[in-house]
């Protein structure tokens, strides 16, 4: 991220997390961690609980057991805004940008917690990360294309330079070139600047290529864990994720 991250290295540690929407828990006893400078990916079938896990880490979904710790701060069952103040940036799967506001106003909302004189500088920095957004700062977010909205949702979270970055399928609606830039360039630089990155992706090959470690979720539990090299050596993993078709 143009190298200007403050470099506060803060790990994310979730231990034994059980969470759901009332009724049966969607994820059970999940333990994941992401260290500063690390890119950690979560993969798994549809409905395996990946998004729910991210939501439980940021306080959107209620954690019924286990702990979520960001650096020294225990954020278990804290409200989403408190988790954000602890330095966690979260880009949801369904990117809800503020549709009637302009791109610039959306970014300003993202910088809500910043001193106002820093906001303009941060917008300029975010615009260098997503040049496409720079060209449309005064356009209403509701009139952006699907991929542009995703970039805006990412950019809005970037405004706060979070120490921990949670990304839920950031490339889902992106054209291949931008998807590749986002993963190989932006996300990598984010980690290189000291942030801890936890990323959910369906483009398994692409995300494995940039991951330091990967968790495989199934039925709401962590089934496999390892470096991409270790997982790539596992026949079961190849079978379900790298079946040779959907590459890139």
């Amino acid at each position: 991220m143009s190298g200007e991250h403050t470099g506060r290295g803060v790990p994310l540690r979730a231990t034994g997390v059980t969470a759901g929407y009332g009724g049966d828990p969607v994820i059970r006893n999940v333990t994941v961690r992401a260290e500063p400078g690390e890119i950690v990916s979560l993969v798994g079938a549809n409905g395996s609980g990946k998004s729910t896990l991210l939501k439980s880490l940021v306080g959107v979904v209620r954690v019924t057991a286990g702990t979520v710790v960001v650096g020294e701060a225990d954020v278990t069952r804290k409200a989403p805004e408190e988790v954000a103040r602890a330095g966690v940036g979260y880009v949801p799967q369904v990117d809800d940008v503020f549709a009637p506001l302009t791109v610039r106003e959306n970014l300003e909302m993202g910088g809500y917690l910043l001193p106002s004189r820093q906001v303009r500088d941060r917008i300029d920095e975010v615009a260098t990360v997503f040049p496409r957004l720079a060209a449309m700062l005064s356009r209403a977010a509701g009139k952006l294309s699907g991929g542009e909205r995703k970039m805006l949702a990412m950019g809005r979270v970037l405004m706060l330079q979070p120490a921990v970055f949670l990304l839920d399928e950031p490339t889902a609606n992106l054209a291949p070139a931008i998807a590749r830039t986002l993963l190989e360039d932006n996300v990598r630089r984010l980690a290189a600047s000291g942030a801890s990155v936890l990323i959910v992706e369906q483009r398994a090959r692409a995300v494995l290529a940039i991951s330091d470690r990967t968790y495989v979720l199934a039925g709401g539990e962590v089934r496999m864990e390892g470096t991409p090299a270790e997982l790539a050596a596992s026949p079961a993993f190849i079978e379900s994720f790298l079946g040779g078709t959907v590459s890139r």
């Binding site: 970039m151 399928e169 889902a172 398994a204 078709t245 959907v246």
Partner: protein, 643 residues
């Protein structure tokens, strides 16, 4: 408790419950926020009054009003219901068209205030502020209205009318038509794209709810024998909304419970509050409003679903087995399609053609299963299997289409032909105008200039629901499931020809539509099984994961029996193995005559399944060809494939 008190309580409960049922049908089921609801009850009250009253000249100018026909029971009540329904028609201008729900609600509220001011201040109309009084009670000539027997009989009739209204709204709500209403409530743009006529649905709901409200007004004035503007201030609508929200929006029993708790309960409880001369005279009624306001706010905070929440409708169905049911496809298409699929798309998993009807649900069985289960309208599809894609008939065409958003040209003159039986891909960088083009093809967005042609006809002026009924079905880039419908209901909501999916069909009752419903449910169950979502059939679609919702949307589109399917990034967020399965299903369906135009960024999908592929950039078509041809074009590579 004396009997007068009890009768009073019962009649008010019945009248309020009827009104709440009408509002529950409009607001809870169909999502029509009618802040002018009380107008309809008022209209019923006045109608019944002037139908029952003698001409105003008869009472020596004691009160002046229109009409005064002195008609016998039950004409005033019937008139009340009819007028309550008819005055809904002008309001169609507010709730229909392109007016957003919240604007329509404000418009209705303002109308209620205006009409109340008019009735209050223009005396010749309905005796102004003083209102109408001495309204003759039903059959007052034959019986003594003061007698306990008469009063009890009137009470019984009111309660019976309330029960009849309950049965009516339940019958409507629990039918396929009711499901369409709930679909519209959850997401009207999507309902429109599936062929639901929103204007007609909303108008019908205003008329039905208006007739119920009118009848309730007619019954009420028969008991209280007076009717004045003070009885129907716009704030009374708020009380009814409070009752419906607290009872449980979308649950008719909740509406009855809410009616008993809020309007009736408050009126009664405040009677027991001791009064003294030191208190201002209006304190108690004012505090009642405060209490109703607090009650609404606290329910929206603590229990927004109400005391009796809308209940989940579980529809069980045995999957339709292709082997057991003759496929509606042309007799020769299955084998041909199988061969065409196998040759056009080399797939490692393709089974021998002989296994086409295997119930195992392998890719090979799909074309048969697809014809039977996917419900593609294949009867009018000529055999397309052996023609090269380029020779086939053009089924969907954009001619110099332009779309501007406030000066920005999202689509700047695109011409595009989609040929029958092809899986045409549409690629391009973000912001190239792909989704906008799809929206214009489907009619979700009007074109700024240019023409859309479908099956050789100009459909540029046709609204989305009419195009959908012709088999032109789209999906959406962003999640668009009907959240408070189960997965099964989401699928059933798209079925185009269910005889219960009209007000008349709904009123005819379950016996009339059960056959259609069961056939559709069997098809839906088979689709769910093929896509591996059968375990979630009775989950609310809003509770599924992102990828599962994408699949619900694709299955729902297939249930609509499309001729042409417009898919906007169907594989985004879908697990790769499943994405590939969906691709295989689409290829098989295309071999059976379905045409697909698909926006997708997953190039492996384009490589494997789509031919031709159209590349767009900056609102214009850049190139068209196979994916490997496009990869060799420097302009495409420049615009899209490298960053």
């Amino acid at each position: 408790m004396n009997s007068y008190y009890l009768i009073n309580l019962l009649i008010y409960a019945a009248v309020d419950a009827m009104a709440c049922l009408g509002l529950s049908q409009q607001f809870g089921v169909a999502g029509v926020t009618n802040f002018g609801f009380i107008i309809f009850q008022a209209a019923g009250g006045y109608t019944a009054a002037i139908l029952a009253l003698p001409a105003d000249s008869a009472n020596g100018a004691f009160q002046s009003y229109l009409g005064g026909w002195n008609l016998p029971f039950p004409i005033p009540w019937i008139g009340a219901a009819v007028v309550g329904g008819l005055i809904a028609l002008p309001f169609t201008f507010l709730v229909g068209r392109r007016l957003r729900g919240d604007f329509a609600a404000v418009g209705l509220l303002v109308t209620a205030v205006l009409l109340n001011l008019l009735a209050t201040n223009y005396r010749p109309l309905l005796n102004g502020d003083a209102g109408l009084s001495l309204i003759p009670q039903p059959l007052a000539g034959e019986y003594n209205p003061q007698s306990a027997g008469y009063q009890w009989a009137l009470t019984a009739v009111a309660v019976a009318a309330c029960a009849a209204v309950y049965l009516l709204v339940r019958r409507i709500t629990e039918s396929p038509y009711g499901r369409s209403l709930r679909a519209m409530r959850d997401n009207d743009t999507v309902a429109d794209s599936l062929g639901k006529n929103l204007l007609s649905l909303r108008t019908t709901m205003l008329v039905v709810g208006g007739a119920i409200a009118g009848l309730s007004g007619g019954i009420l004035i028969s008991y209280i024998t007076t009717w004045s503007p003070a009885a129907w201030g716009y704030a009374e609508t708020v009380v009814l909304f409070a009752a419906v929200i607290i009872g449980g929006a979308g649950n008719h029993r909740g509406a009855i419970l809410g009616a008993i708790l809020v309007p009736v309960g408050f009126e009664e409880v405040t009677r027991y509050i001791p009064t003294s001369n030191s208190l201002p005279p209006n304190l108690i009624p004012s505090l009642q409003w405060v209490a109703i306001g607090l009650l609404i706010v606290s329910f929206l905070w603590v229990r927004p679903q109400g005391i009796l929440p809308e209940r989940k409708r579980v529809i069980r169905a045995e999957p339709l087995r292709p082997a057991a049911t003759p496929a509606p496809a042309a007799p020769d298409s299955t084998g041909q399609a199988e061969a065409a699929t196998a040759s056009a798309v080399p797939r490692p998993a393709a089974p021998p053609p002989g296994e086409a009807v295997s119930p195992a649900g392998t890719l090979g069985s799909v074309s048969t299963a697809a014809a039977a289960v996917g419900g593609v309208r294949s009867a009018d599809v000529p055999g397309t299997g052996q023609q090269a894609p380029g020779d086939r008939e053009v089924v969907l065409q954009a001619v110099d289409v332009v779309r501007e958003f406030g000066g920005v040209r999202a689509v700047a003159g695109v011409s595009l032909s989609v040929r029958r039986g092809t899986l045409t891909g549409l690629i391009g960088p973000n912001g190239a105008g792909k989704s906008t083009l799809l929206a214009m093809l489907a009619g979700t967005l009007p074109v700024s200039a240019g023409q859309i042609r479908y099956q050789g006809k100009d459909v540029t002026g046709l609204p989305a629901y009419r195009r959908a009924r012709l088999g032109l079905i789209r999906t959406f880039q962003l999640a668009s499931e009907f959240k408070k419908l189960t997965v099964m209901e989401n699928l059933l909501s798209a079925v185009p020809r269910n005889c219960g999916d009209s007000l008349r069909g709904a009123l005819a009752g379950p016996r009339y539509w059960r056959g259609d419903e069961e056939a559709a449910a069997a098809r839906a169950a088979a689709l769910l099984e093929r896509f591996g979502l059968e375990a979630h059939a009775s989950s609310y679609a809003g509770d599924l994961s992102g990828g599962q919702r994408r699949m619900v949307e694709i299955m729902r589109a297939l249930m609509a029996e499309p001729l042409v399917l417009l898919l906007d990034e169907p594989m985004a967020g879908v697990h790769p193995a499943l994405a590939r399965k969906i691709g295989g299903e689409l290829v098989a369906l295309a071999a059976g005559g379905l045409t697909v135009l698909m926006v997708e960024h997953e190039l492996a999908i384009m490589d494997e399944f789509c031919d031709p592929v159209v590349a767009m950039a900056e609102g214009a078509v850049l190139a068209q060809g196979t994916m490997s041809e496009l990869r060799r074009r420097s302009d495409v590579v420049e615009a899209y494939l490298v960053g």
